[in-house]
Amino acid sequence: MARVGVFICHCGENIGRTVDCAAVAKAAEAFPGVVKSVDYKYMCSDPGQQMIKDAIRDERLTGVVVGACSPRMHEPTFRRAAFEAGLNPYLLEMANLREHCSWVHEDRPVATEKAIDLMRVMVEKVKKNAELRPIRVPVEPTALVIGGGIAGIQAALDIAGGGKKVILVERSPSLGGHMARLSETFPTLDCSQCILTPRMVEAANHPNITLMTYSEVTKVDGFIGNFEVTVRQKARYVDPEKCTGCGACFEKCPAKKIPSEFDAALGNRTAIYRPFPQAVPNKPVIDAEHCIMLTKGKCGICAKVCPTGAIKYDDKDREVIVKVGAIVVATGFELWDHSAYGEYGAGRLEDVINGFQFERLASASGPTTGEIRRPSDGRIAESVVFIQCCGSRDPKRGVPYCSKICCMYTAKHAILYRHKVHHGRAVVFYMDVRAGGKGYDEFVRRAIETEGAEYIRGRVSRIYRRKDGRLVVKGADTLAGRPVEIVADMVVLADAIVPQPGASRLAQMLGVSYDEYGFYSEAHPKLRPVETAKAGVFLAGACQAPKDIPESVAQASAAAAKVLGLFSQPELEREPIVAKVNEVTCVHCRACIQACPYGAIEDKEIKDSKGNLIRTVACVNEGECQGCGTCVAVCRSGSIDLDGFTDEEVLAEIAALE
């Protein structure tokens, strides 16, 4: 006889407000086979779990149903408790009274009735449940890190430092990401290159790290511990083995007028190029779209001047398949394109620039060697207006969220500008100043109080170029309650932070979820901020949400810790949700074999003691079966069933619906 215990959780007010938990417990008491039914404020708390453990022992329970939050939240918690009390964890089920009931309905009697139904369904299921044992699968102790910005570099270094192998895949020709383009960094104003370059070099030289730049992930198969990833290495047209990085080629390349991605189009580069002098690897690539040889079949100068014969015009893209046990996604962000704002010149006013462009102007290695010169005529900007929240917090035409880092980098820009143009005027239009970090508000106050930036609270409505070439900025001072008009030489827009292009495509490939903007979703917003809902895939940096460098690095190290934790065991415990064949009834029609998406079902020959073949049946490979149950649904003879979701269990659930 079944002896089922029922435990109804109030979740504080979360369930109790809408569901009459006591009534549910009372109703469950009357279900056949239920020997104990109670409700309690917080089931997942220590006393709550203890209550379950005690009941398992005292009442000799053969099954437990916890009516609480989503099993995606606390099923592991309660199953562990059951295990600790000596009950097979798969004899415990959860009914989702919170996400599927109390939070989505308002009417208390109706929600209460539904909660009772949900309990009855799970009680009937648990009575049919069988004891199951976890399955063990081997783990491939190599990590894949996608994205070579500061977050990806940090994650790779930490995993490599922990003694495991890492493959670091970066889409562009060099490591470094956006941080490589920054001049100095808030809140300490240290030089970005100075702190980043050593990390880049270390990553490139680390014996445990395999660097794959100019490469992209194109396919992901497998599951935690056993991913199979296809990486496409784009043709570089330069043999990295032979190239010494001498630079003779790009000095001579005649295709010179290509806007440099690194300099945010404020400077130019050649067709064969190295994105920036500290690039890692420090070897050029040929941009096939602009190379005269590759587009028109003429030129060939680089090959002529190259002392080592490293140029290969016939280079081809290559695909490599790598086997990894875990994946860290660190693909970063991009800036929103402010050409959507016609009132700010629709991206056509040369002296209206974005944050990266200002970083390049302020950078000693940038196109103006650190002088703040206007792109239009190269004059020193005597007056600069900075506009915060450009495209951010604009549900109508931009994005509704706050981009988080732009208050800080705008304060930094204002300070850097005042350092470089002492007599210059720096005006910042802001709506709020969000400077919630260590030393951050002090930094903003410094910009205002000691560096003399003028902060005006209000958004800007219009920017246009006057006859004399200066810009008129029409804003408002909402604190003074009046409009303000400022004439400036240059305007810097703090454009919103958005995911990098192609973010959702990669997410689909990886099977991780993402929000409506394309930022990747963490498994839990508070308690699992570096994991994704896909086991074995972790997040680092600004691909998850706007983040500054310290946060990106912290998350990268956290992701690395998760990976090392995963790699610390040679084998992984897997849920024993796998298919099983009844060899007696199987007629070997092979329908299941064809249906299984994982090729997990094989033929098995049954022989007598003398080794004579009696017949052949289907047989599931537990290591490969993923538990989808597709095979079960196709078997006409009812010979295959899925542990954890057997026909008997599911039919019992349906039959429990009143």
């Binding site: 009459d20 938990c21 006591a22 009534a23 009372k26 008491e29 039914s37 109670v38 409700d39 309690y40 989503s70 995606r72 989702n96 919170r98 996400e99 599927h100 939070w103 989505v104 309905h105 308002e106 009417d107 208390r108 009697p109 109706v110 209460t112 009735e113 539904k114 009772i116 139904d117 949900l118 369904v121 198969d221 689909q508 099977g511 979820s513 409506e516 979703s521 809902a533 949700i577 249906a595 998406p597 994982y598 993923q626 538990g627 989808c628 149950g629 597709t630 079960v632 649904a633 196709v634 954890g644 979701f645 026909d647 599911v650 039919l651 659930e653 349906i654 039959a655 619906l657 009143e658």
Partner: protein, 161 residues
């Protein structure tokens, strides 16, 4: 700790026959996408019609035609099947197999005299809480329009309002 003693506040246990008809919908959803989407609807506090009872399966590929028939036998007015988007299946292709079988489901239902319009298919991903709530409301409305499937079925003890 409150031991069970309180009386249910209202309707619980009230005379079922006396209540007006309202749809009973059984939803078979996959664990990875739609179940999580329903969770997201909850975390986002999106209100939707209470007429659905969810049965969780690992994948829509697991759905046996028998389950659907059984649900109607239990007094369902409609069955909803919802899983991951095509191409997004947690199991690479399970939902593809399920989709291939839909035609079969429909024919089977017609054979057994159930109007195929009472069987709904949808894709709701883990990120689509709003879509889940909208889906439940839309299906409930549609079934409300269609009326009860078999009001005389003794298995249907009460409406799921």
């Amino acid at each position: 700790m409150t031991q069970t003693s309180t009386k249910p506040d209202a309707a619980t246990g009230a005379d079922a026959a006396a209540q007006p008809w309202s749809p009973r919908i059984v939803a078979f959803v996959c664990n990875w996408c739609t179940y999580a989407g329903a969770d997201l609807a909850g975390t986002s506090r999106l209100q939707y019609a209470p007429n659905v009872r969810i049965i969780k399966l690992p994948c829509t590929g697991r759905i046996d035609p028998l389950f659907i028939l059984k649900a109607f036998e239990q007094g369902a007015d409609a069955v909803l099947v919802s899983g991951c988007h095509p191409g997004d299946c947690h199991y690479t292709a399970g939902n593809y197999h399920a989709r291939r079988r839909w035609g079969l489901f429909r024919r089977l239902m017609e054979f057994t005299g159930i109007d195929a319009k009472r069987l709904f298919f949808s894709w709701v991903s883990a990120a689509e809480g709003q879509k889940f709530a909208d889906l439940i409301n839309a299906v409930t409305d549609e079934v409300r329009q269609a009326g009860p499937f078999d009001p005389t079925n003794p298995a249907r003890k009460r409406p799921w309002t």
